[in-house]
Symmetry: C2
Subunit: 314 residues, 2 copies
DNA sequence: CCGGCGAATAACCAATCGCTTAGATCCCCG
DNA sequence: CGGGGATCTAAGCGATTGGTTATTCGCCGG
């Protein structure tokens, strides 16, 4: 019984799928499957059973889940505690939805780390709305930037940190025939996350899957839209520059603009790492607001590390 | 960072010595030393430092100790929880001082397991008074039979379960010259445990080490005493049969008889495994009292497994 | 100054872990 | 009945773990 096996089990149980767990851990799916079967053999219990869509826990799996998730969390805590005690830089791991990760997460986290002056070592990753609660509760991430995830039961707190508007943009030359519902929609990966605003917008507009084209990031989707390939959803203030330059124009739809909020999610204050609380407070400062309003200002391009879709932390 | 490494660290920190930890775990001393150095390399911290006699913890080691011991305990709990949930027999691990282990621990534990009717799988081991608190707090044992170990700080509760008298015996022919302090003393391994009554008796009588001969068990020591080789300490009611048969006679000393109590030690009721609580209650029943008074009655000889001095549990 | 004890290191070995790719299996659903 | 998605199994691999014995190191006490 190893910690690796236990954390594989916890993720499978929480995400309801071996594949999803593998994605979060950044390993192949058989790796997780095998860790699970080793644990099954060791404990002599199936632990999780496939039940049509999704999985159910055996009685033993149920008991194990609470204990194992504590152990995994303590494992992360142990490393952090020793690190702090000897003055080594603390590791801060932030996850964000793909749009936030692309534009603001890295500048924010860099600014925070810079302010801490070497006492913090930060890294960013991308996650879906469904993965976020699991990552935070299992200490695979310290703070998540994205939708509201408040879940008192799981000990999670989400607080709004920024207000923005979701709109649609396209090339000025672009003339959709038959309304925006029929136009090609050019989206970034977050649109594939059922919990995202973009995904809800597409659903409500009745855009069929066949008309949606997913780009590796928001910038690429906007570039395609500027070429006249279709309509792209956008966060108003992030796309403002391109609209001002005339590359893109705002497209009216029956639903946009949508008022939305970015949230920061951590464990409840008494259980979260101190550094997560510090970052949370930093996000309320004018400096952080400024970075979210006008990302890119004040951060050297060379410091920008492109986000990785599959987050791999060892 | 593996659970094996963490439990090696916890035992070294708690027992203050690599050698002692190796003894408890039943492995060679370099095995523990190596587990420790792997952990040190992984965490980049010395964790424990040798300081003349004994060891001290670094700040990092201090933080780690509390977390790691929780993890180790949870590991044991995880296995137990799954086991119980699927109706597999619970594992119950009892440690006792060598004298208790030799005569009453196995009959008691067997009787308890028999009463539970296959729902409990019990095993006995021998430990010194110093090891007992460490074994119980780290869930390497569920219940300890021996001296009073109450330590509210560590969450341990010791309750007296039996009252008995420590005396000295020798062959009727044996005539010590110069008082019992000068006679050869024939003892069992518990006399080497500084926390035991026997050891305290020898100290107070001023018996020099050179006059003490250690036998592998109490029965062997008594047999040698019956041969006239010297004086042996004994629990009155356990040796009564041999005295009645005339093999041995009671020797008067300035200190004996000593009133003493056997204690049962577990974690505090809210944290101990349910089965440990059951055994604790069983120890208060007339059936258990009877077994402690007259061990051997009612237990088939074939069921008696001789105690092992170094306890090895995987 | 040396003996002895505990701890650390070296060298070695078997078993396991953790991961991969590739193929088999299972189950739902049309 | 067949296709497709998800899971499990198989085979193979390199690294690590966990263990051994033998040797060296460091320190205390006589």
């Amino acid at each position: 019984m190893t910690l690796t096996q236990l954390s594989a089990f916890v993720l499978v149980a929480r995400l309801g799928s071996v594949k999803a767990a593998a994605g979060v851990l950044g390993v192949s799916e058989p790796a997780v499957s095998q860790a699970l079967s080793a644990l099954r053999a060791h404990l002599g219990d199936q632990l999780v059973l496939r039940a049509g869509s999704g999985m159910t826990l055996t009685p033993g799996g149920n008991r194990l889940l609470t204990i194992a998730s504590q152990m995994v969390a303590l494992g992360a805590e142990a490393e952090a505690a020793v690190r702090v005690a000897q003055g080594a830089p603390e590791k801060l791991r932030v996850v964000a939805t793909s749009t936030i990760a692309e534009f603001v997460a890295t500048p924010l986290v860099d600014a925070f780390a810079g302010r801490a002056g070497g006492a913090v070592e930060a890294s960013c990753g991308v996650a879906s709305g469904a993965e976020m609660p699991v990552l935070v509760t299992n200490r695979l991430a310290d703070l998540a930037l994205g939708p509201n995830l408040t879940d008192a039961n799981a000990g999670l707190v989400s607080e709004p940190i920024f207000r923005c508007r979701l709109i649609a943009v396209a090339s000025a030359r672009f003339r959709p025939r038959g309304g925006v519902g029929q136009a090609p929609w050019l989206v970034d990966p977050s649109a594939t996350d059922p919990g995202s605003d973009t995904s809800r917008l597409l659903t409500k507009l009745g855009v069929p899957e066949s008309r949606v084209r997913v780009f590796p990031n928001q910038t690429a989707a906007w570039a395609a839209a500027a070429d006249g390939a279709g309509v792209a959803p956008a966060i108003a203030h992030l796309v403002a520059q391109r609209v001002r330059r005339g590359e893109l124009t705002v497209v009216e739809t029956p639903l946009t603009p949508i008022e939305t909020r970015w949230h920061a999610t951590t464990l409840s204050p008494d259980r979260r790492p101190v550094v997560a609380g510090s970052l949370r407070r930093f996000l309320g400062t004018p400096e952080a607001m400024q970075l979210m309003k006008a990302p890119g200002t004040g951060v050297l391009p060379s410091r920008f590390r492109p986000p990785v879709y599959v987050t791999i932390w060892s």
